[in-house]
Amino acid sequence: MSTTTSPTPTATAGPRRPAASPGRAFLAVLWRDLYVTGRELPVFLAQVVLQPLFLLFVFGKVLSDLGFTQPGYTRVLFPGILALTAVVTGLQSTAFPLVIDFSFTKEIEDRLLAPLPVGMVAVEKVVFASLRALLAALVMLPIGVWVLGSIPWRSSGLPLFATVLLLGCLVGSCLGMIMGTAVPPNRINVMFALILTPLLFTGASQYPWASLEQLRWFQVVTACNPLTYVSEGMRAAMVPDVPHIRPWVSVLVLAVTIVASLAIGIRLFLRRAVD
């Protein structure tokens, strides 16, 4: 190092390389994802809102107007659809991009080579997917008013509503991280069909969990789906008169699921990212 002849290793003229800062790198990586989503916001919203919109329209409006559902069913349905939007959007926002990135485009490599721990790249994916899920769920509020005429809303339920919504976004994103890193690329179509469809219909979105007592086996199945606790938590916040799982149980189950699935997801992510 004491030699004076060695040339300075700067690639371009100007100040030296900045000190590596994991925090700054994390924000830059998050900003990249937000920037790309922001630029194609209408496409993104159409992509995530269309499915819940149709569910809401057919089950909440068409069937109800035709008299096939009882009056008041929309009060049960709407909180469930919000829950479904949050969880499924979160799940798709981590799972799809990760499968494509790791298996095909390798775009993520530039971020894996950024000066931050690889596990933080995984955490960034979860944070970003949760933000997308949150946006999609919030957009469903005006859509609900538009489709149904009115939505059940209680200001006193707001703290629980916000808590359950956030947990729902996170639980979907964390589960998506597991799917996106565990499923081999050639199986992705099959896996999404095998996982997503059951997830949609066993999550107590379209029916209150307590009402399944006559259908005991199905009640047990739905109790295994994290979406059930988001749907039930939403009902506890928005329509507390409908029988629901006790809020603290829902919140606890969701919190535990998030911690466990995030830990597994990061492990799987590290296995894909570092040989």
Partner: protein, 326 residues
């Protein structure tokens, strides 16, 4: 430390990598050091362990044993810091398809903490230098292999790395794009950028690298300047003869060619349809054309081609491994 008392920019000692479920080591006890400002080439066939070695140095592959460091930072112990010191141009296009070329450069610099004004200035400079200014706002999906390669080199330089790793930089490129990459590598060297490149192309290694490490089956077989490596071969010049055998046993013919006066060594070169023998000579090659032809005629075989050459890195590889590079 090397002989000049400099701390090496890249240092690898007894490096071992065994992938999960693999039966052999992909990298098997490799040691070398790269000096500041040097272009260092790792030459070897596919599967030799070059890309794995680069993968370890760039923190994308976890080593099984040994040490690897960049500017004194152990890449296994402090991968985050190591990542700010290295840049990688991979074999395949991994540009961000959601971003334009310019944004690819800008975001890369942002990940590495380069301040905004500095990012914009550097991106402008590099885009101009790499002939990309006019297409700066295009998306990378429409780019050819050579153009994508250029963008990736420009992107790699955005955070002023201590070492630039080029993994098979010209594989799959057309000849013009290849020459462009070679020129860029020479420019970078002139600016003092330390470069580690992997290649299975001996011309490329001889053209670009100050020193070449020859790898095969995870081991580093030789390491020196291209000139010193070829000088170390027993023969100074070579005579390659191609023979249509028509049933003549090859062994006897090779033995007899090897026994000719002035021939130090003879090696068969892999060739599907004919026998190709490379004679390593102590003296002048033209003097041996007639005697070699006579030997071939004596075996009732037909001489189909004669080539005179100085020993190349390929000859070094053949001498070390007993087979051709490709």
């Amino acid at each position: 430390m090397d002989g000049n008392g400099q701390v090496p920019v890249v240092e690898v000692r007894d490096l071992v990598k065994r992938y999960r479920k693999a039966k052999t080591n992909a990298v098997d006890g490799v040691s070398f050091a790269v000096r500041r400002g040097e272009v260092f080439g790792l030459l070897g066939p596919n599967g030799a362990g070059k890309t794995t070695t680069v993968g370890i140095l760039t923190t994308r592959v976890r080593r099984t044993g040994g040490t690897a460091s960049v500017s004194g930072v152990d890449v296994g112990v402090d991968p985050v810091r190591a990542r700010s010191l290295v840049a990688v141009v991979p074999q395949r296009n991994n540009l961000d398809r959601s971003l334009s070329i310019r944004q690819n450069l800008l975001f890369h610099a942002a990940y590495h903490g380069v301040p905004a004004a500095e990012r914009a200035r550097r991106a402008g400079e590099l885009l101009g230098e790499f002939g990309l200014a006019e297409r700066a706002d295009d998306k990378p999906d429409m780019f050819s292999g050579g153009q994508a390669q250029r963008v990736m080199v420009a992107r790699a330089l955005m955070h002023a790395p201590e070492v630039l790793f080029l993994d098979e930089p010209t594989t799959g490129l057309d000849p013009a794009a290849r020459l462009f990459v070679w020129d860029r590598v020479r420019d970078l060297k002139a600016r003092g950028v330390t470069i580690v490149l992997t290649t299975h192309d001996m011309d490329e290694a001889a053209q670009l690298a100050d020193r070449v490490g020859i790898m095969d089956h995870g081991k580093l077989l030789a390491l020196d300047t291209p000139a010193a490596l070829t000088r170390g071969l027993p023969g100074r010049t070579t005579l390659e003869v191609a023979v249509a055998l028509d049933g003549t046993p090859a062994d006897a013919l090779l033995r007899e060619l090897g026994a000719l006066d002035g021939v130090e060594r003879v090696e068969p070169v892999a060739s599907p349809h004919e026998l190709r023998a490379r004679l390593y000579l102590a003296g002048e090659a033209p003097l041996l054309v007639a005697p070699a032809a006579a030997v071939v005629a004596g075996h009732h075989a037909q001489l189909t081609d004669v080539t005179i050459g100085a020993p190349s890195l390929e000859d070094v590889f053949i001498a070390l491994t007993g087979r051709a590079l490709r």
